[in-house]
């Protein structure tokens, strides 16, 4: 299949490891990946913050960049983000329609009909659950709100994860609760957002997992920021120092990881990749906190 990748603005600029992993994964599965160069952003942040008029050129650009899928030039568009997929599917045509751009709204609808979140693409379109991945770590999964409730991906991401060789999946308590990100909510209502985040961070840390995964880098950025801060302030480490935070990895990164090309830290110079003295497993089963860096 020829699959166009919408890298998402956040994925392109801040978390290239996610779209990169999608390319590696899909090419490994024998598909051709296309990256339309005109793409930038789906417009979700603007729409959800109330700036529908400002969102119009952003959405038009996205629709223009991916319009060839509506003409059959590509078979599908894949997005490594539940919330961007949700915006493409449920908001873009509405905003264009309101702006009086009926024809473009119809194109947007046609593009959206062939646009899939990663787990939807793999399971529903490509019909694959075991992608041949290897990720020998203890992992917990956060089902992001928009994947869960706007798209209804259900347990697709979990089915994909369960098929990964070597993975030790730990159930996340209160998994379906929002992490408190909510786009500009995190800034406009920072205190409430932080209170929600604190609960999510506690839940993640209680699993004893070394890695937190999700289908959205926006939520992972939020929870990851909380995990890093929690670790920094020593609230989770017994000795209050030197314990690396639970790492955040996109679902695509786990699925792209294999024996031949295992997952590697995208920013090895950073704290999150710094090796601490001692060796041993990065994560321990049974809910206790990991104390040393993963040996790769």
């Amino acid at each position: 299949m020829r699959i166009a990748l919408a890298a998402t603005c956040l994925g392109d600029a801040m978390f290239p490891q996610a779209p990169t992993a999608v390319v590696r994964l899909l090419e490994r599965l024998g598909h051709t990946v296309v990256v339309p160069a005109g793409q930038a952003c789906c417009g979700q942040m603007h729409v959800n913050t109330g700036y529908q008029r400002e969102a119009v050129p952003v959405i038009r650009n996205h629709v223009r960049a991916f319009a060839p899928v509506a003409d059959g030039e590509w078979d599908a568009v894949v997005v490594p983000s539940g919330s961007c997929t949700g915006s493409i599917r449920h908001q873009q045509a509405m905003v264009l329609d309101r702006a009086g751009l009926g024809a473009e709204a119809r194109t947007a609808t046609a593009v959206a009909a062939r646009t899939y979140e990663l787990s939807e693409l793999l399971i529903d379109v490509l019909g694959v659950t075991d992608v041949g991945a290897w990720f020998p770590h203890r992992v917990t999964y956060h089902p992001t709100c928009h994947s869960l409730r706007m798209l209804g991906v259900g347990d697709r991401p979990l089915r994909l994860l369960r098929a990964v060789e070597g993975i030790d999946l730990a159930e996340l308590p209160g998994a379906e609760g929002c992490c408190g990100f909510g786009g500009t909510f995190a800034v406009k209502n920072a205190d409430t957002s932080a209170a929600m985040l604190a609960d999510k961070v506690r839940a993640v840390e209680s699993t004893g997992a070394g890695y937190l995964t999700a289908g959205d880098y926006s939520c992972l950025m939020h929870i990851g920021g909380g995990l890093s801060r929690s670790c920094r302030s020593g609230t989770t480490a017994d000795d209050g120092r030197g314990v690396p935070p639970v790492r955040t990895v996109h679902l695509a990164e786990i699925l792209a990881s294999t024996h031949e090309m295992p997952w590697s830290d995208p920013d090895p110079g950073g704290r999150r990749g710094r090796s601490l003295p001692g060796t041993g497993a990065h994560e321990q089963a049974g809910g206790s906190r990991h104390t040393t860096e993963v040996a790769r």
Partner: protein, 522 residues
């Protein structure tokens, strides 16, 4: 939003020696207190409140999920409830007239009230015409919304709330913080203190055992039921076809109020209509399971006009607008009027669970309050932003109100009317310029690398300047990557050899880009 002055009700403050920290009765029940972010910060600081709320909402969430899960056709019921309410909104004038005709034909008197002041005036006049100075009340959101108790007090009429939780709120000189469980922010020790100090006839050795608290309230209320000549209620449903009104409650206090007094006055929002008696079948399944997590509602009272020799011999129905026709006129927001006040959306809302009802500055808190309050008042509000758009509310709503979508629409309205802040407007405009062009975006993303200097030596950004501090006050941020995805893709393509059509030279702005090549075709 500006802080609005609170009006102190007569039952507040000096009535006892103890002062109960609560929310003093405001001048406008739909607009009070500081802005949502400020009020939320205040409430978040109250550990006791967070514990009470966390416990209560978790319990009721689990109860609801269990009883909803056992109904095989729950989704079909939701569809039916939604369709019926849409039908009501599409035919509201005709259905209201049908209701008026049928209530009148059965001996009731129908009054129309444009706003809170008119409704309160009508009730006060009716009570005074009976020469009464006391009324008993059934728990009602409509009368909370119009501040009826305070308005009656000014006319020398004392209204007694007979729902247990409403009684607690009233005795404490407080405001409700939940649609169904107005005293959800109180625990039983606080309730014992409130009863002992304010109820007058509470046993001096009252403990905080729930049964004892309930018995004390019961004895107190029984005297009120037996002496009151006039009762005031709201209505869960008004059946246009028959003129039947219905109140759904759990304690039996409603049944007392609806049957014992000589005169019954019902204040009903005009959106509470349902077309036919048969339609109750749908709503009496949806409501109890969604609100209290019960399979069947304990006390469902229905009355049609006046029945000689049985129940109140005088019945007045006040049909209340108070902003509802404005909501109805709005195509995008009108489904907020479908609400049957079950409060399932409050119980699942992660924001409500943390901050509680008082932070919303309205008698309608939580997700439904965030869409209903600004629409009813028609005034600028920060409530549409009091949500992460997580969608849990929409998922549980028994009449399928798409609250997240309405929130997004109301945000657009705030922006359009210029109430969203100039800084945000400028930032969004600048972002839109960058994000509406692939080449411009890639240039900007490439520049993001400069942000790496903000990181400490461990590669993490812990402190951002200016508005970014709202993020880094409680979260870190990874430093931007050395190479953007598009940069990587260009290398990847080069390494793989150029394959026709797959995004040639994405990093080079000057060259034609296949992805944008469709422009000419369209």
């Amino acid at each position: 939003m500006n802080a609005r002055p609170a009006r102190t009700s007569s039952s507040d403050a000096k009535a006892g020696n103890v002062t109960f920290l609560g929310m003093p009765t405001p001048a406008d029940p739909l607009r009070w207190g500081p802005s949502f972010p400020d009020a939320a910060r205040r409430e978040l600081g109250n550990e006791q409140l967070r514990r009470n709320l966390g416990h209560a909402t978790a319990t009721i969430r689990a109860k609801r999920a269990a009883v909803v899960g056992e109904v095989p056709d729950w989704e079909a019921l939701r569809d039916a409830g939604s369709a019926l309410k849409t039908q009501v909104m599409d035919n509201l004038p005709e259905l209201l007239q049908e209701l008026e005709r049928n209530v009148t034909a059965r001996g009731g008197v129908v009054h129309w009230a444009r706003d809170a002041a008119e409704a309160n005036r009508i009730v006060a006049d009716l009570v005074q015409a009976k020469g009464a100075t006391e009324v008993v009340k059934v728990k009602s959101m409509a009368t909370q919304e119009i501040g009826l108790n305070e308005a009656l007090e000014e006319e020398g009429i004392h209204a007694t709330e007979t729902d247990l939780a409403e009684l607690i709120v009233q005795l404490a000189g407080d405001m409700p913080s939940h649609i169904l469980v107005p005293a959800i922010h109180r625990n039983r020790a606080e309730i014992r203190d409130i009863f002992t100090a304010r109820m007058g006839d509470a046993p001096p050795d009252l403990s905080d055992v729930p049964r004892e608290l309930a018995m004390a309230a019961r004895a107190h209320l029984r005297r009120k039921f037996l002496s009151a000549k006039v009762a005031v209620s709201g209505a869960n449903f008004g059946v246009a076809e028959t003129g039947t009104l219905s109140v759904v409650e759990s304690e039996g206090n409603g049944r007392m109020c609806l049957t014992l007094p000589e005169t019954l006055i019902t204040v009903m929002g005009i959106e509470k209509l349902i077309p036919r008696f048969q339609d109750l079948e749908v709503f009496l399944q949806l409501l109890p399971r969604s609100s209290t997590g019960e399979r069947m509602n304990p006390y469902t009272s229905m009355w049609t006009g006046v029945t000689p020799g049985d129940g109140p011999q005088e019945f007045h129905l006040i049909l209340l607008d108070n902003g509802r026709t404005r909501v109805l006129a709005d195509e995008a927001g009108r489904s907020a009027l479908h609400c049957i006040r079950c409060s399932a959306c409050l119980n699942v809302c992660p924001v409500y669970e943390r901050v509680g009802g008082h932070a919303y500055g309205s008698v309608y808190p939580g997700p439904i309050g965030a869409i209903l309050t600004p629409q009813l008042t028609g005034e600028p509000s920060d409530l549409p932003y009091a949500s992460t758009l997580c969608g849990a509310c929409y998922e549980v709503c028994p009449v399928k109100i798409d609250i997240p979508s309405i929130l997004v629409d109301l945000r657009a309205r705030e922006v359009e009317s210029g109430h969203a802040g100039k800084g945000w407007g400028a930032a969004m405009k600048a972002a839109a310029t960058v994000m509406s062009d692939g080449a411009r975006f890639r240039r900007a993303a490439g520049l993001g690398r400069a942000g790496r200097v903000l990181a400490g030596k461990d590669g993490t950004i812990t402190r951002l300047p200016g508005p970014g501090a709202a993020w880094t006050d409680s979260r870190d941020l990874p430093r931007p990557p050395k190479q953007t995805f598009h940069g990587w893709w260009a290398d990847h393509e080069k390494a793989a050899g150029t394959e026709a059509g797959s995004g040639t030279e994405p990093g080079t702005e000057a060259k034609p880009e296949p992805g944008t090549g469709t422009e000419e075709e369209r």
